[in-house]
Point group: none
Chain length 219, copies 2
DNA sequence: ACACGGCCTTCAGCTTCCTGTCAGAAAGCA
DNA sequence: TGCTTTCTGACAGGAAGCTGAAGGCCGTGT
């Protein structure tokens, strides 16, 4: 799963990030609400972990704003406020769950598993594209029923297309998904990976939009 | 069923006792191993719930002693989270199941029901994978009808795959199943165990997903 | 108490295969 | 046609994974 962690405490944040990654999910970690907004706008996440007290504002209005925009991404609130009224307010604002700091990392695992389970048994657990069957939760792709082995990078790319059907994704956007911010690549890596994906999944699955990027095929 | 509960924590013990009675079983509850020995000698039980940390000794030697005497009464171990590694030893010592404290009482109900089913002589569900036949309740695997001997750790690993078919399990996740939280393994233990499992069950039963983990094979 | 044996971890060397790079071919565009 | 952009086969370096062997721990039998 792709998870957005919004937390300004560096110690807790690092711990949570490590735990999540250890479970095999990918994490973007930001410490401010304005950053969080940008990330939410530019990528799609399967889960948001939201601290309520941040340097540039409170989390609840941010959450309400999200919901008003129609964003239904599951949100788990992380907070030191342990008062029941806060909890109710949080749930009212559209949170899916609530964890009081300090919490056990194993507790976090349990919640993640719960979300993953829901994610796994969701409206469209299987996305079908032509002869492909994609299971986002299990990270598996079948072509004509046969499991296709995608490498880590290939999966990250393909997942991006599946999560944004119809949308043109630029090479820059795709690179961002593949690499950490600092690390940079000086070559046509994306093109090469796209080429490999096409070979495995079928040429027509990914369209080239000259000068702009790539897009999921129509089929 | 007649159940012997060996547990020194009065709060947990009372909760468990009440739950069991609510399900219509009868319970004897003792807080020490010497008492437990007496009860076992003087009455016969259909199930034993055994805490591992007791005031007058540890539960595992007690369990081993039972098995050595030829006592085959089903035993479910109750253990704290930081003793997960004990559960491996528990399996070795002849436990039938384990529950990590704190556990849900509904989870307890499920295990009771499973034991009751076996007690009633009903068939256990068999999972079939290629030429393998797995009996999760009895912890046995047959390959082409021939019993395959798995060691405790091998079983814990393999069970994880069987319980999550199709899902990629990371080494971190698998390690978590094998070891206590803090316990750290600085080496390729998982790889070694996977290697041995493959040798016993067939190479194709477990797929490697490079950089992500392992997954049950398709076959 | 001692030795034996099974099981587990560690280590080291080996194999596999992922991935970024490049170069030439192909395709789009004017 | 000539220029740009994209595609794709090949390759090398290195990371990730595999596996045989050695050593240690623990429970068991003598």
């Amino acid at each position: 799963m792709r998870i957005l962690l919004i937390e300004d405490d560096t110690v807790l944040g690092a711990g949570v990030r490590d735990q999540i990654q250890a479970e095999g999910h990918s994490v973007d970690w930001v410490g401010r609400l304005d950053e969080a907004g940008e990330y939410l706008a530019s990528a799609s996440y399967d889960l948001v972990l939201l601290d309520l007290m941040l340097p540039d504002g409170r989390g609840l209005p941010f959450l309400r704003e999200m919901r008003k925009r129609g964003d239904v991404t599951p949100v788990i609130i992380l907070t030191a406020l342990d008062q029941i009224s806060d909890r109710i307010e949080g749930l009212n604002a559209g949170a899916d769950d609530y964890m009081v700091k300090p919490f056990d990392l194993s507790e976090l695992s349990a919640r993640l598993a719960a979300v993953a389970r829901r994610y796994a048994g969701n409206p469209n657990p299987l996305v079908t594209i032509g002869d492909l069957e994609i299971d986002l939760a299990f990270r598996s792709v079948r072509r004509n029923g046969k499991l296709v082995a995608l490498t880590a990078r290939e999966w990250v790319l393909f997942e991006a297309f599946v999560q944004h059907p119809g949308q043109i994704l630029s090479k820059a956007q795709l690179e961002e998904r593949l690499y950490a911010f600092d690390a940079e690549v000086e070559s046509n890596t994306i093109e090469v990976h796209i080429s490999r994906l096409r070979k495995k999944l079928g040429r027509e699955k990914i369209d080239t939009v000259r000068g702009m990027g790539y897009r999921l095929g129509e089929s």
